[in-house]
């Protein structure tokens, strides 16, 4: 499947898809989207890159082992739940704070951290499966 066209387009396609996945992740709270879908998009982006250019460049590009990314996501989500601990509210209560960032009002919440954790879990798990399968393709 490594045609010249595919190989040339793949990096751009991948970066666009990753960017889009982050966009989908962040808009998730109010528009269709969210961590799960975003994670799937990013995972397919990496899978495409892997099919086009081989697995080694993907592994280099994401630097961490995908399973470690997944574990980090799970950790992040668990931490997001525990933010409620020092605030003396039940586990997983959504906590919000407002930030003013160059005059723009920004709502940040533990829910967002949780969703980012979901994103990482999905990206990591699916990417590691896809990459492992692609890798075995050659040996």
């Amino acid at each position: 499947m490594r045609t010249v066209i595919f190989r040339t387009v793949a990096p751009y396609l991948t970066s666009l898809m990753v960017l889009f996945s982050i966009f989908v992740l962040l808009r998730g709270h109010n528009e269709p989207g969210g961590g799960f879908i975003g994670g799937l998009i990013a995972a397919s982006a990496f899978a495409i890159y892997g099919i086009a250019c081989g697995v080694a460049p993907v592994r280099r590009a994401i630097y961490f082992h995908p399973m470690a990314i997944s574990a980090f996501g799970l950790f992040l989500s668990a931490i997001a739940g525990m933010i409620s601990l020092p605030l003396s509210v039940p586990f997983m209560t959504g906590n919000w704070m407002k930030l003013y960032f160059f005059g723009v009002e920004l709502d940040l919440s533990s829910v967002l951290i949780f969703d980012i954790g979901v994103y990482f879990v999905v990206v990591g798990a699916i990417t590691s499966i896809a990459l492992a399968l692609e890798e075995r393709d050659r040996d």
Partner: protein
């Protein structure tokens, strides 16, 4: 529950912080890091010391915070005499052990890691004894098992260490499961999840039909942890660990967790026939067997290990005997034992460290070379033997006082206690006298006194045994009496002091001593006799454990061979046939088949077009010439379904469906190329018919199921709730997302954990190479012979 008090939280968390910083400190400072590290447990000790006056006044200190109030789960602690004494012992002996380790493992390459494990254990054990909520108790209980596993297997290069570590983990881990079940049953009986509330519910617990079940399950936890017969075998094997571990975990603290649990349960579970039979019988058996086996050993550490087993048996026996004096004796003995046994273990380590051997038959005359160790050993042995002026004397008097009644049952246990105590007396003095007195013997290393770091611990503990006895009124007021009150559930006062009361207990003490001296003089003959008996029996629980493990492995291999013959198509057929049956069978049996829907008259042309696409995809799958085409055609059908979701107002679902469909086509294609199948699919006709039947049944099952679900009138209160509150309390307009990450966040947390674990499982399945057999070393196994890199 009182408001959480910051200092106590810090004290409970401090050992874990120490575990984090220990490796870095040791890397910087070498073994001198002990001076900094010892401050951590010292702080904890001082913190708990501050509670003494309050607890001695008969109060209990509680604190903590709610964790998941809807399940009545909290992180809460509860300090009464029992937990406070334990906390003080853990932190005080912990401080001494930190010192001792600095000397014992000086220059060891993994000293930092060792400290890390020790502190992890200290934190877990502290948490265990102050836990109020069941969940917290269980979590800390398991943590002590895990840290014990890490410490026993510390020297993981040796097979014996690994086996001992695994054995301890399996035995105490099984006990942990039993404990969990017991706590759940108790929760079911009483409806409370806090130990502090359990005390007042004794009547209810004892009257329950599930009393015996709860009792046996809880005791399963306690007996495995505290190495009661027949689970005693893991403890002597655990002596594979470095000596500081043996002194700390496997004599002074962790193994007493079971005794702690029994004492904690006493007010609620005690005072029944079952309690007063099971505990003394198992405790007494453990006492006898442990002390007899101790006589057989010649290795100092093993002798001590078996007497630890017998001491634990004695404590369980006394706790279960059912009188205030017996409970008091258990408490006093527990405190005395922690001090003298901790000291003796460290001294055995000193002898080993300085002379190069722990074999008692190859030691002698160290008195002049190691004077401080000798003095400390004598003091500890006097306490162990129950002689004045040491604390062990008080506890032994109280033991006989508690046991002595004029009935056959009591006389039996008095005899058991005399034999057990006598034999422990023998071992104590064998360790304190044989290596030190007599002729100087050639040892592998030329012995000299151990460094300060190594004698300060045993010397402090031995002195402690003396001071506690001399200052007994003070000690009883602040430590023993509150602890006994906690064990019996009523205010009690201990009065026993060094002044002997002429009477039965004193006489029994004298009998014990005479018996012990006789055995001591004939020690070699006794050792040979017991060794011969054991050889004649030829089987023990230790062997049994191996047989159990290999039996389990064989059984699981057989089961695996049966359910997993290794044919993928059999798995697939079985799985999908099971799915079809579970879907269709209940509907047929209960006659709940749904009515077939009518064709909607208002179907729009584009909706029909989408359905047509789905059918085209289906046709393409069936008629595809090669596998790759079939997989891609499956995608057509999936996209059509995603379009239907989109048309009927579920953008999130459709979005996800698109992505899942894309990825599954990609992954399926990769798997297919991986399997090196022939490009086209050639199945015999019979196989085709079976497969077609199964898949049609599956599809029909799902259709019928969905139809019958939609036939049930739709109750909208859940969606009404989400629509009403999504924006107002969760600040999100996308209801689906708000449900996933907020309203049902805990579910999602579980689900993503599953996603991750599934990924991990698939990853390791992909990595399995053909030709791999169970038991083969993996490539990254540290024990595999290193291969030179080319």
């Amino acid at each position: 529950m009182a408001a959480p008090d910051g200092m106590t939280i810090i004290a409970l968390g401090l050992p874990f912080i120490a575990a984090l910083v220990a490796p870095a400190l040791v890397r910087r400072l070498g073994h001198n890091a002990v001076w900094a590290l010892a401050l951590f447990p010292l702080f904890v000790f001082v913190r708990f010391l501050e509670f003494l006056p309050e607890i001695a006044g008969g109060e209990a200190v509680t604190g903590g915070f709610q964790w998941a109030p809807s399940y009545n789960v909290s992180f809460s602690w509860f300090l009464d005499g029992l937990s406070l004494t334990f906390a003080l012992l853990i932190s005080a002996i912990g401080t001494l052990i930190v010192f001792y380790t600095g000397g014992y493992l000086k220059g060891h390459a993994q000293l930092g890691r060792f400290y890390s494990f020790i502190f992890l254990f200290m934190g877990s054990m502290l948490g265990l004894v102050v836990s109020d909520s069941f969940l917290m108790l269980f979590v800390y209980w398991e943590l002590t098992s895990i840290t014990s596993f890490l410490l026993i297997g510390f020297d993981h290069g040796r097979e014996a260490s690994r086996r001992a570590a695994l054995q301890a983990l399996i035995v105490t881990g099984l006990g942990g499961l039993s404990l969990m079940a017991g706590l759940l049953v108790t929760w079911n009986i009483t409806g409370v999840t806090q130990l502090s509330l359990l005390v007042g519910l004794g009547e209810e617990v004892r009257a329950s039909p599930f009393y015996l079940m709860a009792l046996i399950l809880l005791l399963g936890g306690a007996f495995t942890k505290s190495a009661q017969f027949p689970f005693h075998f893991w403890l002597p094997n655990a002596m594979e660990a470095p000596t500081p571990v043996s002194a700390y975990l496997h004599s002074a603290t962790m193994v007493k967790a079971g005794v702690y649990l029994v004492m904690r349960m006493n007010p609620a579970f005690g005072d029944t026939v079952a309690w007063e039979t099971i505990l003394p019988v198992f405790g007494g058996a453990t006492l006898l067997i442990g002390s007899l086996l101790a006589i057989r050993q010649t290795d100092l550490k093993l002798m001590l290990a078996y007497t630890t087993v017998s001491s634990l048996g004695l404590m369980v026996m006394m706790t279960g005997f059912g009188s205030e004096h017996a409970a008091a004796a258990g408490v006093l003995y527990l405190v005395a034992h922690s001090m003298f046994k901790g000291a003796l273990f460290m001294l055995a380590g000193n002898i080993d460290h300085e002379s190069g051997t722990r074999d008692i038959t190859r030691l002698g005359g160290l008195r002049k070379l190691m004077p401080i160790s000798f003095l400390a050993a004598m003091a500890a042995a006097l306490s162990m033997g129950g002689l004045p002026p040491f604390f062990g004397f008080l506890s032994k008097e109280e033991i006989y006082y508690g046991l002595w009644h004029m009935d056959a049952w009591s006389v039996l246990f008095v005899l058991v206690a005399i034999v057990g105590n006598g034999l422990m007396f023998v071992i104590g003095f064998a360790i304190a006298i044989k290596p030190f007195l007599g002729k100087e013997v050639e040892t592998p290393k030329h012995a000299h006194e151990a460094p300060f770091l190594m004698w300060i611990g045993p010397a402090t503990l031995a002195t402690g045994g003396f001071l506690a006895a001399v200052l007994s009124p003070l000690f009883h007021r602040f430590v023993s009496s509150p602890m006994v009150s906690a064990v019996t559930g009523r205010p009690e006062e201990i009065t026993i002091s060094l002044l002997p009361h002429i009477g039965m207990p004193l006489l029994l003490s004298l009998i014990t001593i005479v018996f012990a001296v006789l055995v001591y003089l004939k020690l070699d003959a006794a050792r040979a006799a017991i060794a011969a008996t054991l050889a004649a029996i030829g089987w023990g629980p230790d062997r049994g454990f191996d047989q159990f493990i290999s039996g389990t492995v064989r059984l699981s291999r057989r089961v695996t061979k049966f359910v997993q013959p290794g044919q993928l198509d059999i798995y697939m057929t079985a799985t999908f046939a099971a799915v079809a049956i579970t879907l269709i069978a209940p509907m047929v049996i209960f006659d709940e088949l749904p009515a077939l829907p009518v064709w909607p008259a208002d179907a729009e042309i584009h909706e029909l077009a989408v359905i047509l696409i789905a059918f085209i995809g289906l046709g393409a799958v069936i008629s595809a010439k090669d596998r790759l085409t079939a997989i891609v055609s499956l995608g057509i059908q999936g996209f059509a379904v995603a379009l239907i979701f989109m048309l009927f107002g579920a953008p999130d679902l459709s979005f996800t469906q698109f992505m899942v469909e894309t990825l599954s086509v990609v992954i399926l294609a990769l798997v297919m190329t991986r399997l090196r199948l022939s490009p086209a699919d050639h199945r015999p006709t019979g196989q085709k018919i079976v497969d077609a039947t199964v898949s049609i049944a599956c599809g029909a099952g799902f259709m019928l199921y969905l139809l019958s679900v939609t036939e049930v009138p739709f109750r909208s209160y859940l969606s009404d709730f989400f629509i009403a509150y999504s924006k107002t309390i969760a600040h999100g307009a996308n209801i689906v997302n708000v449900i996933i990450v907020d309203f049902r966040g805990t579910d999602t947390l579980g689900e993503i954990a599953v996603v991750m674990v599934t990924g991990l499982a698939i990853l390791s399945l992909i990595r399995v190479r053909p030709g791999w057999k169970p038991g083969m070393l993996a490539e990254n196994d540290p024990d595999a012979p290193r291969q030179e890199k080319k």
